[in-house]
């Protein structure tokens, strides 16, 4: 029995030695805190601001400028079309700016559609923006704000329709409050997070 136990111990010790030997990969040496980051050392700066991103941002900027000119002229359909083109711009894959710019364009687009009385189309534009948003941002919060304005506009339209629509108008106002609350909550969370990061 004694020899069996000793034998087992030896096997265990051998297994331990083998596992230690197999873990030969060493932890990478931590980068010195005093080292200045050198982009030349970066093999593939995938998250660096690149030309593709700058081109997309520049195009979006131009469409916004064009829309502003149309709005000044009072040509809201042309302004709407110009802003809509921002949604189909090609941004670098996984660039966070893409979501931000598109969500902001959707907010403006919804307001333009709302000002033209196209409340359902405006609501669809907002919903399409909120559906894929997995990352909270001030731009998503702004979408909820515009959504709340749309619910308010719908409530006003239902109020104007007369007594039979009163209940629906009340629902829209409640929905507006819900949207504003969501916007406020996102803003609070993000502001807290930004304060912690500073």
């Amino acid at each position: 029995m004694k020899y069996v136990i000793v034998g087992l111990s030896v096997v265990m010790a051998a297994a331990l030695a083998a596992s230690v030997a197999c873990s030969g990969e060493r932890e990478p040496a931590p980068a010195p805190a005093t080292r200045v980051p050198d982009p030349a050392d970066v093999a593939d700066p995938a998250d660096a601001i690149n030309q593709e991103l700058m081109i997309a941002l520049g195009q979006a900027k131009n469409f916004h400028h064009k829309a502003k000119v149309y709005m000044t002229d009072g040509n809201l359909p042309a302004a709407t079309a110009s802003v809509r083109q921002i949604l189909s711009l090609h941004f670098p894959r996984a660039a966070p700016e893409a979501d931000d710019v598109r969500n902001d364009a959707r907010a403006l687009l919804a307001k333009l559609l709302m000002s033209q009385g196209q409340l359902d189309e405006a609501m669809r534009t907002i919903d399409e923006g909120l559906a894929p948003s997995q990352r909270e941002s001030f731009f998503v919060a702004n979408l909820y704000t515009v959504q709340g304005e749309l619910h308010e506009a719908r409530a006003a339209a239902l109020d104007a329709a007369g007594e039979p629509s009163k209940a629906a108008a009340t629902d829209e106002r409640r929905a507006a409050i819900t949207s504003y609350d969501l916007s406020i909550q996102i803003n609070e969370r993000l502001q807290k997070k930004l304060l912690e990061e500073r």
Binding site: P39, D47, A60, F139, E149
Partner: protein
């Protein structure tokens, strides 16, 4: 009439040069056997008073020469008694102290188990450490190559920190916000590429 024993103990001491008599030789041989028996633990139950006295003397002489060894049990009992006295506990009524021999024997019996338990614990700890230190675990995909981090201002990132919360009155000012984002990212883009260009002109790696 005096006996031979009395002669031995009380008779005149013979001259050292005198040849021993046959009786003396026989007596010496018998006494030698008696001493041998006594030393080997086979002391005869009955013996003459002279032989007993001589035997005691022989035992004392042997003990004083230092060749007498106590049995291991007696040795340890003596040591334990001395230790008990040193630490102030009397031999009477004190809890029995485990003898060194017994402790050694117990240790010898338990040694394989101790070694086995220690080895098992060490092996389990090593395996646990290996499993825990695997970055992200095998289920989380291949390891990512370590690379230097870019300064934040040179990276593509959320515009939240730049824009901040959007007031309701400015919900539709997307153009103005995009101007700010574009200007900020253009600074970063220029900074990154100017740095690279400087490295190239100095003969550094691209």
């Amino acid at each position: 009439m005096a006996t031979q024993d009395e002669d031995t103990l009380t008779g005149p001491v013979p001259d050292p040069e005198t040849e021993p008599t046959a009786a003396e030789l026989a007596h010496a041989r018998r006494f030698a056997e008696l001493v041998d028996k006594t030393l080997s633990g086979r002391t005869p139950p009955a013996m003459s008073a002279d032989d007993r006295a001589l035997l005691e003397v022989a035992t004392v002489i042997r003990a004083t020469r230092g060749n007498l060894e106590l049995a291991p049990g007696a040795q340890h009992a003596a040591v334990e008694d001395a230790l008990r006295q040193a630490i102030g506990t009397g031999p009477q009524g004190a809890a029995p102290v485990t003898s060194i021999l017994e402790a050694r024997a117990r240790l010898r019996r338990r040694a394989p188990w101790i070694v086995a338990a220690t080895s098992t614990l060490a092996a389990v700890a090593a395996i646990a450490a290996l499993w825990l230190r695997t970055p992200g675990g095998a289920a989380h995909g291949p390891p990512v190559a370590h690379r230097a981090e870019l300064p934040l201002e040179w990276t593509s990132r959320s515009a939240d920190a730049l824009i901040g919360p959007i007031a309701r009155d400015h919900a539709g000012d997307a153009g103005a916000r995009l101007d700010a984002i574009f200007a900020d990212r253009l600074d970063g883009f220029r900074g990154f590429h100017e740095f690279r260009a400087r490295r190239l002109t100095r003969g550094g790696k691209p």
